[in-house]
Point group: C2
Chain length 169, copies 2
Amino acid sequence: MALDTREIYVTALKNTHALEMQALQIMERQVERLTRYPEMEEALRRHIEETHGQRTRLEEALQSLGDSPSAIKEGILGFVGNMMALGHTPAQDEILKNTYANHAFENFEIAAYESLLTIGEAAGQGGSLTGFRQSLQEEEAMARRVRELIGPTTKRYVDLTIAGEKADR
Amino acid sequence: MALDTREIYVTALKNTHALEMQALQIMERQVERLTRYPEMEEALRRHIEETHGQRTRLEEALQSLGDSPSAIKEGILGFVGNMMALGHTPAQDEILKNTYANHAFENFEIAAYESLLTIGEAAGQGGSLTGFRQSLQEEEAMARRVRELIGPTTKRYVDLTIAGEKADR
């Protein structure tokens, strides 16, 4: 059975909503554990706030179509489950792996929003797209911020490690 | 026990090597399955070739330090295992999930190389870093290419789906 563009759009909205719910869990878990990397902690706290707004935009778009977020889609969870696992893996280099994973995760979200915008345009759903363009810009800004922090975070990890101090998170 | 910078660098080289080995598996699996998305197939084929060169650079750096790649590190595999699973999940929107995951994966690698360069500089390992800067540029180019393809790939997915044709890969 062929789907129509509206059905494809609703599925994309639900998948993106599930992704944002996972994003919140991953970031909240990390931020609780961070002690030695205050710039990363601040970036995560700011983006958690933004993510609540992104989630609301998706819920409003679903409501305007007479639908609502459903249980988390397995495909998305399959990807993200491991990111969550990374978020609380006790490892000497936990901060590095989380930083790489955060950079990957933001870029997963960037791709998901760019795709959602394409689907929304095909489905003639202009009304919600301004908000999703803002969400995309927020994800891009967070991806840039994480990337800026890769070098300084790695340098601090190396310095703390060779000093024999706590460096993991 | 405190580690020294050389030990941290060797660990980073081994982790990045494990990451590239996984990259090859993920891309080779996807590329075999792609039938309706020739631009993505071409991008993956080109990047598979580059990845062989990236892998060689890492092996040469390890050899120059009297070391060799070891078994795949669990931390990296934990992240990447799921990407692989995505690579052969039979789903109506397999191509979309793979595209998002490829964009995420390239950006995981970008973070890993940027971090490796920082560690290599701290360890005074200038000799290998020119090659790793090239690897980083290759990952950035592939990330850009995947991003360029998100819109056209999504559009083709929508068009094929509403026409009732095979759209998944």
